[in-house]
């Protein structure tokens, strides 16, 4: 069969078509589907190097040539302070705190999306497949599958859900066809703690009212042995007024300031706390929007500077804090937490567009840190202008797709990403990361070597 070193149509033509316009529908040469029945998976590689995973979705798609795949040109603002760390160009002025943490990150620069539509690709990245396919319609978030896989490992004191989402607005994919038990537990990070973990009328009132409910229920005995909904009430009540649970969602004003005093920053603090407390949560999704800079991308205190500042302060401090928190077996919490930072695609390269901004573009970079990743380097390269993937930089010798990112996350967490479940409502079989005949998904194991 055809090996994928040459795309099916000439790269240049492909990207010329692709770089058109804001919405950017276009033919997708990498998306040729299989002849029926010839899908295959390579034997799974399961690395099991991390206990937790944090997926940071940079919603809106950050410009890769201004951030993690810096390409300096006449357009580059001086305050970006382009610096080269060990061969890796980085905008130290735009992301100063992250530049101090530079050594923690591996920059995977050969990522590529198959379309340029925000919601389509945001969904794609969360479910590890094309959302318009039939299993795409029922697919759970990667986090829900992680919660399902780790469900049997839960201890009795671990009262929090396996999958927590923070700062996610509209496009958070939930549990798909899996039970609600594995749906993301949405948290709005707040210094005062989680709001509906406390009864607004006070703990005394709650105690009284709880007694009333129980008294009423006791005179109406339920005739079956278990009661799913009542289990949820019991779990919910055990989370409330539990000092361990309450404290984990609270943070100090000092921390809030240090992390950048933003919704994203607060979310990073809560994620840190949840990891330290080990109360059952193993997968986090944190969204950070504001990257869709079609116009005025370099405008002071706006454009890319806004989301960049939030990312910089939140993520850098999260990494720093996790690095000094002890984990198990002599590792730090950062050693056992895989952090993945990516947008849904990249942005146009070179000179700015007519509105002083950048439009959608397929090539982009994913950051990896922690969880066994060896940082301080870039993997994969793009051409000098950032337009094309030049060398993919990994074993499969093709651009990295969202499916491969998902395979990497699962593999790091010790989950077999080729697993196929047979309990889906469509009766088609549900693979954690689906295969096609063009290429099977594969984890980027080079990140960990």
């Amino acid at each position: 069969m055809k090996t994928i070193t040459e795309p099916i149509i000439n790269r240049r033509i492909f990207f010329e078509i692709a770089s058109a316009g804001v919405a950017g529908y276009f033919l997708s040469p990498l998306d040729v589907l299989a002849q029926a029945g010839t899908t295959y998976q390579k034997p799974a590689v399961v690395m099991n190097s991390a206990r937790y995973a944090i997926f940071i979705l940079l919603a809106g798609a950050p410009s890769h040539v201004d951030t993690f795949d810096l390409k300096v040109g006449p357009w580059t603002p001086a305050n970006f302070q382009p610096t080269t760390f060990d061969g890796v160009d980085f905008p130290a002025g735009l992301l100063p705190n992250l530049s101090y943490q530079w050594g923690q990150f591996a920059f995977l620069r050969s990522c590529q999306s198959n379309a340029l539509v925000h919601s389509l690709l945001q969904t794609w990245n969360q479910i590890a497949r094309n959302p318009t396919t039939s299993t795409g319609k029922i697919a759970p978030n990667i986090g829900s599958i992680v919660a399902l896989e780790f469900d049997s490992q839960r201890r009795r004191d671990q009262v929090l859900p396996g999958f927590v989402s923070l700062n996610t607005g509209g496009n958070l994919i939930r549990n798909g066809y899996l039970p609600a038990r594995y749906s993301p537990f949405d948290v709005t990070a707040n210094a005062g703690g989680l709001t509906n973990l406390q009864h607004p009328d006070g703990q005394v009132s709650f105690g009284d009212r709880r007694l009333v409910v129980e008294a009423l229920n006791s005179v109406n005995p339920v005739r079956v042995d278990f009661d799913e909904m009542r289990d949820f009430y019991t779990s919910a009540q055990s989370m409330m007024y539990d000092p361990a649970v309450n404290n984990v969602f609270r943070f100090s004003p000092t921390d809030q300031q240090r992390y950048g005093n933003s919704g994203f920053g607060n979310s990073c603090i809560v994620a840190r706390n949840l990891i330290a407390a080990d109360l059952g949560t193993r997968y986090f999704q944190i969204n950070l929007g504001g990257w869709d800079n079609h116009s005025n991308i370099y405008q002071a205190n706006a454009g890319i500077y806004n989301p960049a500042r939030q990312l910089d302060q939140g993520l850098a401090n999260l990494i720093a804090d996790l690095a000094i928190m002890p984990g198990s077996n002599g590792r730090s919490q950062l050693d056992q937490t895989l952090i993945v930072v990516k947008g849904e695609f990249g942005r146009t390269v070179g000179s700015l567009n007519g509105q002083q901004g950048r439009d959608h573009y397929a090539v982009h970079t994913t950051l990896f840190a922690g969880g066994g990743v060896r940082g301080g380097r870039a993997m994969g390269t793009t051409t000098a202008d950032g337009r094309f993937v030049d060398s993919p930089g990994w074993s499969q010798e093709r651009p990295v797709a969202p499916e491969d990112i998902a395979a990497t996350i699962y593999s790091a967490l010790g989950i077999n990403y080729t697993t196929q479940r047979r309990d889906d409502p469509l009766g088609r079989g549900f693979e954690y990361v689906p295969s096609t005949s063009t290429w099977p998904p594969y984890p980027v194991v080079e990140l960990f070597q």
Partner: protein, 658 residues
């Protein structure tokens, strides 16, 4: 469409929860699923196995597994009904719960009863007794209008001596404004009306226009075939002509135009004919793929289904930007004079389409009766006529509506019709079985619906007036999941997110006000107080905490996220602690139910009784009265009333319709 996977999903939801199918083993292609070591593993867990070699098609599944899944689904429906039904303390109408009428003696209100009780009689299955007035009133009010009855309505109905009061109630409810709200929401779900979707953006303007169109159509009781025709053959600006938004929704991006023509075929087949395998068949023939899923589909070919897509091959949806900042773009929908479904694609969302047997373009041909059209005929209008005359259109619609009332549809999931397994006079070969729970009744109702002008209200009235619908959810004797297809009792369903919100509002008497974003819209929508009035399931965008409350109850987004009724910790936390609930129980919240009753009387028993009636639509049982009296004595009238109101909202039965 998603809504109809709910009942099916509930099966797997609970299976996965209680059996937690778990992976063991590390090799791809040789994966074994094992049930973990939980104490509470039910004995009906199924062991799933993947194919031993990678070359086996991923999508085959043997009929045994398929049949077992139906069996498991019925167990789930039964389990939920038992849980909630056992909590219900409304004495059934025909007296003692221990006996019920034999099916032969059950009075027949209309032809639905003939088929339902006739079948039970034939199988020797005992039906539940008829529901009491209280049980019936709450149930039918929720099912028809999406809200509970008020204490006044309860008193009036129970006291009414008219022997035909149940029929009169149904007649009244289908003409209320609340009915409009609920069924506009239902069809909005079915047609997936929203402002932003993965595949296309309608903006608020398109969404509101579509919402207004649906609402107006239902208000004037438009025949449903006419409604479908208007949507399939719509033209014009989707911001102005609401019906045109249905076609806009068929858009499939990042591919050739044929992908969107296929999108039209998929949506027409799913939403109007209940046939979901058309989506599969547009990528490949049924053979080797649908062999165990759909008997009709397994013998179908991709080329034949293309005939359906070809009806959409002249549909043009021209996007034009009407405003730059903020960005709004509408679609001008039309049918071009020329254009064909050409077999010349090699990329996009579906398998390549290449000439076959010398044929490189496909002419419109309705796959279910091979009907073709003249070359000059308008394709969309032709399809509209042909499709709505198809008995399957009537069947699918009847099934969708039946599901909303009877909880268990004839065909489950309700968009998975298998046309080769519907005719009792022509049953499929073993091991296949007839698909519908009651094939004779489904066909009879489909014909009836056709002959009665596709009148949706009339259809709902027929269902609600049947005694089959009016059976109690409490069952005498031992219930078996095999009884589910006989509808031998009323099945329980969890209320939709919007119904829960609106029930809390109506019960507590504190009306919210949500403004809807409609800037620039021609059909600007005013502020609303009821969740059932939202034009899509992302509102109220002006009030994020309430939106989160609603999302926690699984209303989905009419796109990738399905509507679901499974429970969660967040739902429990919300009912106990969310300000939407807790602010409404306070005596000092002006207009609240608690305030009203405290001012009306200081008699603790009367207070307790009123709270039961307004929250659970029934009076307290003697045991509950005793508990209530203790609570009022302990906490005093005000704190007692507030606590009772909160407690009743947090009783399991509040969230369910039974």
């Amino acid at each position: 469409m998603r809504v109809f996977l709910v009942s099916f999903l509930a099966a797997f939801a609970s299976i996965a929860l209680f059996s937690a199918v778990h992976l063991a083993g590390q090799e791809a292609g040789a994966v074994e699923f094992r049930v973990p070591h939980l104490e509470q593993v039910p004995e009906d867990t199924v062991e799933f196995r993947s194919s031993p070699t990678a070359a086996d098609c991923n999508y085959l599944r043997n009929p045994d597994e398929f049949l077992r899944s139906t069996e498991l689904h019925r167990k789930e429906v039964s389990r939920w009904t038992e849980i909630v039904g056992s909590q219900v303390r409304m004495l059934p109408a025909s007296g003692d719960l221990q006996t019920g009428a034999a099916p032969a003696r059950m009075p027949r209100n209309n032809f639905i009863d003939d088929y339902i009780f006739g079948r039970m009689e034939g199988a020797g299955i005992q039906p539940a007794p008829l529901a009491s007035d209280l049980e019936f009133l709450r149930r039918v009010t929720f099912d028809i209008t999406g809200r509970p009855p008020s204490p006044t309505e309860i008193f009036a109905f129970v006291a009414d001596p008219n022997p035909n009061k149940r029929d009169a109630l149904v007649d009244k409810l289908v003409w209320t404004f609340e009915f409009l709200d609920k069924w506009t929401m239902f069809f909005g779900d079915l047609y997936k009306n929203n402002a932003t979707a993965t595949n296309v953006v309608r903006y608020n303007q398109g969404r509101d226009a579509f919402y207004a169109y649906i609402r107006q159509s239902i208000a004037e009781n438009k025949p449903y075939n006419q409604m479908a025709q208007e949507m399939i053959a719509a033209a014009g600006d989707n911001f102005v002509n609401g019906a045109a938004n249905w076609l806009v929704g068929t858009t499939v991006p990042m591919g050739p135009a044929q992908d969107t023509y296929d999108g039209g075929a998929v949506n027409a087949a799913q939403m109007f004919l209940g046939i979901n395998v058309v989506d599969c068949l547009l990528c490949h023939d049924g053979a080797r793929h649908l062999d165990s899923l759909n008997l009709w589909g397994k013998n179908e070919t991709r080329a034949n289904i293309w005939g359906l897509s070809a009806f959409f091959a002249r549909t043009r949806m021209t996007r034009q930007v009407v405003s730059q900042t903020p960005l709004y773009a509408d679609f001008i929908v039309s049918e071009a004079a020329t254009g064909d479904y050409i077999l010349n694609t090699t990329s996009g969302n579906r398998q390549p389409r290449q000439p076959q047997g010398g044929v490189n373009r496909i002419m419109p041909k309705y796959p279910w009766n091979d009907q073709t059209i003249p070359a000059t005929a308008n394709r969309l209008q032709s399809l509209a006529t042909i499709l709505t005359s198809d008995i399957q259109f009537s069947r699918a619609t009847v099934n969708y509506i039946w599901e909303k009332f009877m909880v268990e549809p004839f065909v489950s999931p309700s968009n998975s019709f298998d046309l080769a397994r519907l005719d009792p006079n022509n049953p499929p070969p073993a091991p296949w079985m007839l698909q519908p729970t009651n094939p004779e009744l489904l066909n009879a109702m489909a014909v009836w619906f056709q002959e009665n002008g596709y009148d949706l209200r009339y259809l709902m009235m027929m269902i609600a007036k049947s005694n089959a619908y009016q059976l109690s959810s409490a069952y005498p004797g031992q219930w078996k999941p095999e009884y589910v297809p006989y509808y031998a009792r009323k099945f329980v369903r969890r209320l939709d997110a919007e119904e829960i919100h609106d029930a809390i509002v109506k019960t507590t008497g504190v009306l919210p006000s949500y403004s809807l974003d409609y800037q620039g819209s021609l059909y600007g929508l005013p502020s609303v107080s009821w969740a059932m009035q939202f034009p899509d399931t992302s509102e109220p965008r002006s009030n994020n905490t309430v939106a989160q409350f609603l999302n926690a109850f699984g209303r989905g987004n009419r796109d990738q996220v399905m509507r679901s009724t499974s429970g969660s910790v967040l739902q429990a936390l919300n009912m106990m602690n969310h300000s939407f609930v807790t602010s409404r129980i306070h005596a000092n919240n002006n207009g609240s139910n608690v305030q009203w009753i405290l001012r009306y009387t200081s008699n603790p028993d009367a207070i307790v009784e009123h709270l039961f009636l307004s929250t659970l639509s029934r009076p307290p049982t003697p045991e509950e009265r005793a508990v209530g009296a203790e609570v009022m004595k302990w906490l005093g009238n005000q704190r007692g009333a507030e606590s009772m109101q909160w407690a009743l909202l947090n009783k399991l039965e509040f969230l369910f319709n039974y």
